[in-house]
């Protein structure tokens, strides 16, 4: 525990010091008077105070413009005062600034203070394109119950003039810049490739192979298929991916003549889902089989929607349920009821917090990016396909870098992590 917080011993200690001073003063004053009459008594007191409480000034001081910033900041750096030791005479440093236009410092104003032991202070409010002068002084003081008893300041160390300037490029972030530009270029290139009709390969995805079987089962059993595209609006990429998968499922359902129903919780999703399904049924050559009533808007309210769909599952006991899109707490409720009613459940979401429940309660789950890959795979939409490929390139680069970096670090050859660390 620091010394000054012990109130009672502290006061006792201060008393002792004062008493000691008084004696010393008498002694020295007597000496001074006896030796030379020219030294005034008061200055003797001052010097006494200085020698006892006042810390020595900080050592060599420098100031420089903060690099890689928008200007307006200067770092002041000093060496600690010789008295800046544990329980020493330095409690803090005070920093002063003077602004001048003619190259000479004018009046200094205090701009901040910092605890003992510090050697730098950043002036974040320095004006640009003027001469800034700084002073740093070591300070000792005594507090009691929040009131300042006394304060003693060393003679200050002066530095200046310095200028605060703003830079054109943050040089510490070159690696991030290179990374962003490179990856962006690759993604744009691949999107254009996909647009021009180039076939970009995507691997098989486990959950998707089960779709055929799941749809077929519904036809066999003569029961419904439910497709739930999450509870977010069309501005969420997960919903977009979900709807793309719906297109594929709808096509299959039309072929197998299974009944497909889509309860939704956003009106825009309803419109888009109807469009997608209509096209899918047309592709399967069964436009007549599609009815708009297959897509039902229920409610925007999260739990209201969950309760309604839950009721539908219990009443109609669908053979297959798809959950593809953005899900939150309702995932648990829906998947539980679907499981209890014995449906085959195929889920897919990018919400990391809901994935565990889908994995535990559903037969197949598309994990995170697999959802997007699946939708790109099915829709062959160039934007999705191109970005997915671009991300794969990014992953490949990172993978190689990680492996090489680990090998280098393990054998102590070279530390590659610097190329990836950004400040």
């Amino acid at each position: 525990m620091p010394l000054y917080r012990r109130h009672l011993p502290c006061r006792f200690f201060t008393g002792l010091v004062v008493f000691f001073h008084f004696f010393l003063f008498l002694l020295l004053a007597g000496q001074a008077i006896s030796q030379t009459a020219e030294t005034p008594v008061s200055s003797a007191i001052d010097s006494l105070k200085l020698t006892d409480h006042t810390p020595l000034p900080p050592g060599s001081i420098s100031a420089e413009d903060v690099p890689d910033d928008a200007g307006g900041a200067i770092d002041i750096i000093w060496e600690v005062s010789p008295d800046d030791v544990p329980n020493g005479k330095v409690r803090s440093y005070h920093i002063f600034r003077s602004v001048s236009l003619n190259g000479m410092p004018s009046e200094f104003t205090k701009i901040g203070e910092i605890n003992a032991g510090s050697t730098t202070f950043r002036d974040g409010r320095a004006a640009e394109d003027v001469d800034n002068f700084y002073k740093v002084a070591a300070v000792n003081f005594e507090n009691s119950n929040g009131t300042l008893l006394w304060e003693a300041m060393s003679s200050p160390a002066l530095v200046g003039p310095v200028h605060a300037t703003s830079q054109w490029f943050n040089t510490r972030r070159v690696n991030a810049f290179v990374g962003v530009v490179l990856l962006s270029a690759i993604i744009i290139f691949l999107i254009n490739q996909a647009k021009s009709g180039k076939n970009l390969y995507i691997r098989k995805i486990a959950g998707l192979e089960a779709v055929d079987e799941a749809v077929g089962r519904a036809t066999e059993m003569g029961k419904k298929i439910l497709f739930i595209p999450g509870i977010q609006d069309m501005n969420d990429v997960q919903t977009i991916a979900g709807i793309a998968i719906l297109g594929h499922v709808a096509e299959l359902a039309a072929e197998y003549e299974a009944k497909l129903e889509v309860p939704v919780s956003k009106s825009l999703v309803m419109v888009t889902a109807r469009e997608t399904m209509k096209e899918a049924y047309a592709r399967a050559g069964r436009s007549d089989a599609f009815h708009e009533s297959q897509v039902v808007f229920i409610t925007e309210d999260q739990f209201g929607y969950a309760a309604a769909v839950e009721g539908q599952i219990v009443r109609e006991k669908p053979a297959t349920i798809f959950y593809q899109g953005a899900f939150f707490a309702e995932s648990l409720l829906l998947a539980e009821v679907g499981n209890a009613e014995g449906a085959i459940q195929i889920a897919g979401t990018g919400e990391p917090s809901q994935l565990p429940f889908f994995v535990a309660a559903c037969d197949y789950t598309l994990i995170g990016e697999e959802l997007f890959a699946a939708s790109a795979y099915m829709s062959h939409e160039p934007r999705q396909l191109g970005s997915l490929k671009g991300q794969d390139v990014g992953k490949a680069v990172f993978l190689v870098a990680i492996v090489v970096g680990i090998v280098c670090a393990t054998f102590g050859w070279i530390d590659l992590s610097h190329f990836f660390r950004v400040n």
Binding site: L183, N235, A360, A373, L388, K395, F419
Partner: protein
């Protein structure tokens, strides 16, 4: 038992919402309506004072008579355009502020995620697998860093879509899915912990603050 009126109100509201677990009923619906009303109202007041009044209004018209920040007018105009969505006729103009927010978020996220969640994570994975501890090998830390390295590499390979999961590549991907499952299992356990804490908090309120049965 508490003698405070507010505690009784809070307790009854709590029981009202819980009554839904038995079945849907009017009491639950009343509580739900109060919840929607009071929460929307609360948020509205907070945003009104902490942003619109304190930052926008007093930013443009400082109370001490200083010169206001004229740039804030831009935000004010975008904000008012946002309210146009209430009208069917000029609702399309609300796309301007929406585009602004979407664009700004995209710009910030592009950098943030790339730097903090990709570059920095890659950098911190590039560590020596062998961790020494004052001369000898720190086996616990060494095993740990091997596990982390394997998890990151195999997990990334699982999410790699340009190559079929066959052969050695498929084997690594298999290891990747195991690590992902352990990860999901942990978040499963943590989520259970979280949800249970919330219920404990409510039960403590009912039995402690309201009925005064605990301590």
């Amino acid at each position: 038992m508490s003698t405070e009126f507010g505690v009784w109100v809070a307790a009854l509201m709590t029981i009202g919402l819980f009554s839904f677990l038995y079945k849907d009923n009017p009491f639950f619906k009343v509580c739900e309506a109060v919840f929607i009303g009071s929460s929307t109202g609360y948020w509205a007041v907070v945003y009104f004072f902490d942003n619109l009044q304190k930052k926008l209004w007093e930013g443009i018209f400082p109370p001490d008579g200083a010169v206001g920040d004229a740039w804030l007018w831009g935000g004010a105009i975008l904000g008012i355009l946002m309210l146009c969505r209430l009208s069917n006729k000029i609702g399309w103009i609300a796309r301007w502020p929406v585009s602004f927010i979407v664009g700004a978020t995209a710009g910030l996220y592009m950098i943030n995620y790339f730097v903090s969640s990709a570059m920095m994570q890659v950098a911190s994975t590039m560590q020596s697998l062998v961790v020494t501890n004052g001369g000898g090998i720190d086996w616990q830390a060494t095993i740990g860093s091997v596990v982390v390295a394997v998890a990151v590499v195999s997990g990334l390979i699982y999410f790699f879509f340009s190559k079929e999961h066959t052969g050695a590549f498929g084997g690594v991907a298999k290891v990747g899915i195991w690590f992902l499952m352990i990860t999901f299992g942990a978040s499963f356990g943590y989520t259970v912990m979280s949800r249970m804490s919330l219920l404990i908090g409510r039960m403590d309120y009912l039995f402690g603050d309201w009925l005064g049965m605990i301590r």
